[in-house]
């Protein structure tokens, strides 16, 4: 045994020394040749725009006249924009509302569907249905539901039980919650599918054992389902956080950022800089700042949840 180890050590050492011919003969060259197109395409189409964006954020350009280097002026402009604080707060507010009210919905939905013994495929389909409706069509439809008149759809329905009429999108205090309500409806289905898939990997013996021990449905959910879903929940939470910080379609189509900037988000601001103002420098500068922030958030989140998920 000792002999073998002693003999193996020098071999391992020799192998560490790089030999190009051997490497090529051993398939290394083929691997590189195979990878090159993919890497190039990825670098050009994926990293290219990222780097281009970074460069643009230090330039003044309309992409027709030659670009001028303007140093940090795009950054100082977007940071000095009085609307930035409000847009950041709005984005954070949306993220918070979506986390508190929107995040648990798909989990509950998934657990409920999972508990069903019959017709679960049907409920699966029903839960997923909103995700099939194209967002633009769904938003236009909901805009119609949110009609602020007493004769509006939601207001009429709520009127039957003596509530409202509510201004929905037409008041600063209710515009963002209205958008969150829609976003929850639209997003719950596709997220629930992921949870349902994760739930199907939970071993049924655990439930059976718990049942034998006299655990009711709530204790089973609390002590078996949620711990088993923990890693999926953490990943979904991170994805949702990143997603909510990039919210654009909903405020763009529902309110255009109004009323009085109550639904103006960071991404909508970036869009307006670029495509309304034609100020690509300012747009990319704010994008770079957002990317930095999301990067930091992801790192922080990773370290925090790493501790949780292994504990």
């Amino acid at each position: 045994m000792t002999k073998t180890l002693e003999a193996a050590a020098p071999v391992a050492k020799r192998r560490k020394r790089f030999n190009a011919a051997r490497w090529a003969r051993g398939g290394g060259l083929h691997a590189v040749l195979l990878a090159v197109p993919v890497v190039l395409v990825y670098a050009y189409f994926s990293w290219g725009p990222v780097i281009q964006g970074l460069v643009l954020s230090f330039q003044k350009t309309n992409l027709i006249q030659p670009a001028e280097w303007v140093g940090w002026s795009n950054f100082t402009y977007v940071l000095a924009d009085p609307g930035l604080v409000q847009a950041s707060l709005n984005t954070a507010y949306f993220a918070l509302l979506a986390l508190v009210f929107g995040f648990p919905v798909p989990i509950v939905l998934a657990v409920l569907v999972n508990e069903l013994r019959k017709y679960d495929a049907l409920y699966n389909a029903l839960a997923y249905l909103p995700a099939i409706v194209p967002p633009v069509a769904a938003i236009l439809l909901w805009k119609f539901f949110y009609d602020p008149d007493a004769t509006g759809m939601f207001n009429t329905a709520l009127g039957w039980i003596g509530l409202g009429p509510f201004p929905w999108l037409n008041a600063e205090h209710s515009a963002m919650p209205s958008i969150v309500l829609y976003a929850t409806w639209a997003g719950a289905g596709s997220t629930a599918i992921i949870y349902i898939a994760a739930l199907s990997t939970v071993r049924t013996e655990l439930y059976e054992a718990a049942e034998i021990d006299g655990a009711g449905i709530w204790r089973r959910v609390w002590h078996i389902t949620l711990p088993q879903l923990r890693n999926v929940i953490f990943v979904m939470m991170l994805l949702q956080l990143i997603g909510t910080f990039q919210i654009f379609t909903e405020p763009f189509l529902f309110t255009g950022g109004g009323p009085n900037n109550a639904t103006q988000t960071i991404l909508l601001k970036i869009y307006n800089y670029a495509f309304v103002n034609g100020d690509f420098g300012a747009a990319t500068a704010l994008s770079v700042l957002l990317a930095l922030f999301l990067g930091l958030l992801s790192v922080a989140y990773y370290f925090v949840t790493k501790r949780w998920s292994t504990s």
């Binding site: 309309n62 027709i64 030659p66 009085p82 008149d149 255009g256 009085n260 309304v276």
Partner: protein, 461 residues
């Protein structure tokens, strides 16, 4: 034959390649940078605003005119494109260089595009075609730089007025032939509509997608004020803007005559108006086209008057229109060909009776409005002669436009610096006044002034 070096003509566009200034200056390649103007040389241009397939008659008429033009100008090949101006995608397409050689875009961009070098200097071509002298001098002022160079051709001009539903007016006991002339009347009429016609928003205001700022600018003009100084160096909003917002506030919160929807933009307010649920709204006469043709609004119910005035009256109204965007990267020969095309397509009807009649007949057959009032792109005498030619084909109820067409209000151009940004920055102000009863109007205007000055500074960098 006139020979112009490209260097003279295209000072602004000569170094157009994206993000590659130094390379482009020395690159005679793709754009033919060293080419001289030669009106007889073979040239291919693309032209936008081709009608789409769902309007077969208009498309056929357009294609016929392309064929006629090509027959008359054997060296020019036209590639029609259905590209139309769209505020949300315009900047991206312009930057990406995917727009045709010439197409129509909102006149709002005029100063910005000239300042940014995104429009070529068209003076030599317009002179060559002898077109400059015939254009409406008022509109021409909007498309010149300080040295008097002309960068584009303005067409489809309009000024803002007040559109109203004649049917609603009648139900409210108002005279449908007497639109409100002052803002006090607008307020009183709105109260009367509210009292007599349930389920109708007496007066609606646009507030989103830059239309809020656009209309606040218009109302400020009506009160005798300005948003920016004439040179576009600073924001000068004052009492007139505050008075406009105060009126909106009072109509919303005191009279409750503005309904419940405060996130209208141009499209949605026209839809609601066509649905018969709006009494009055600020619009230009081109609204008639959309309302009647696209949304099936009864033409008999459409009325439009001049912009109601505040303060001492007769202060003026805001003008707008379309400008022909020529590609700053096109060659001199392409630019000349494009200018020839515009002259042929948009202006020949004002000079040639047969063309005028043909155009009017085609439009009438396609159900398009013929003789829709607006500001002429040519001088008034030429325009009146043209209207005389097409009179038998006019299908628009002109008497319902009388309050608008009889207007003698001064016409005021849009704020010059960062026009769309300026409008965008004012949207939230109008929204705030309409959705927050206790909003501090003076403070909102002061805050907006600060934002506008930031925008002006960024635009002037």
């Amino acid at each position: 034959m006139m020979k112009l070096s490209r260097r003279h003509v295209l000072a602004a566009g000569s170094s157009g390649a994206v993000l590659a200034a130094t390379a482009a200056c020395s690159d005679p390649g793709a754009n033919g940078a060293t080419e001289d103007l030669d009106p007889a040389a073979d040239v291919t241009i693309s032209v936008g605003d081709q009608p789409t397939e769902d309007k077969p008659e208009e498309l056929a008429a357009f294609n016929d005119r392309v064929a006629e033009f090509e027959a008359a100008n054997a060296n020019i090949t036209i590639e029609p494109s259905p590209e139309v101006w769209e505020a949300q995608t315009f900047q991206a397409k312009l930057a990406g260089g995917t727009l045709p050689t010439v197409m129509g875009v909102s006149l709002t961009y005029s100063y910005e595009l000239i300042e940014n070098g995104q429009l070529p200097n068209m003076t030599p071509y317009l002179d060559e075609l002898d077109l400059t002298g015939d254009l409406n001098p008022l509109a021409l002022d909007n498309v010149k730089d300080d040295d008097g160079n002309v960068y584009t051709i303005p067409t489809g001009l309009f000024s803002v007025g007040i559109a109203y539903n004649r049917n609603v007016f009648e139900q409210a006991g108002l005279d449908p032939d007497a639109p409100p002339a002052t803002w006090d009347e607008v307020r009183a009429f709105a109260q009367q509509i509210k009292a007599n016609v349930p389920g109708v928003t007496p007066y609606a205001q646009m507030t989103t997608n830059n239309t809020g700022g656009w209309m606040l600018t218009t109302m400020t003009y009506a009160n005798g004020g300005r948003i920016q100084d004439d040179a576009g160096t600073e924001s000068v909003m004052g009492e007139e803007t505050i008075a406009a917002l105060q009126l909106l506030h009072d109509m919303r919160w005191v009279d409750d005559t503005m309904g419940r929807e405060f996130l209208y933009d141009q499209e949605s307010v026209r839809q609601a108006f066509a649905g018969g649920t709006i009494g009055m709204v600020l619009q230009a006469p081109d609204a008639y086209d959309t309302l009647v043709r696209d949304y099936g609004f009864d033409p008999a119910h459409f009325g439009i008057g001049q912009l109601p005035q505040g303060g001492s009256g007769a202060n003026g109204t805001l003008t707008g229109g379309t400008l022909k965007l020529f590609d700053a990267k096109a060659t001199p020969n392409q630019l000349l060909a494009a200018a020839k095309w515009i002259k042929y397509y948009d202006f020949d009807k004002y000079y040639d009776e047969a063309v005028a009649l043909d155009d009017a007949e085609t439009n009438a057959a396609a159900g398009n409005p013929v003789g829709l009032p607006g500001l002429p792109p040519v001088s008034q005498e030429i325009y009146d002669r043209y209207l005389g030619w097409i009179e038998p084909h006019i299908n628009v109820p002109l008497e319902q436009f009388a309050g608008y067409t009889s207007s003698t209000l001064p016409l005021i151009a849009e704020p010059p610096a960062g026009t769309q940004q300026t409008y965008a920055a004012l949207d939230p102000v109008v929204q705030q006044i309409l959705t927050d009863e206790h909003a501090d109007i003076a403070q909102a205007v002061a805050d907006a002034t600060e934002v506008l000055n930031g925008i002006i500074a960024q635009a002037a960098r």
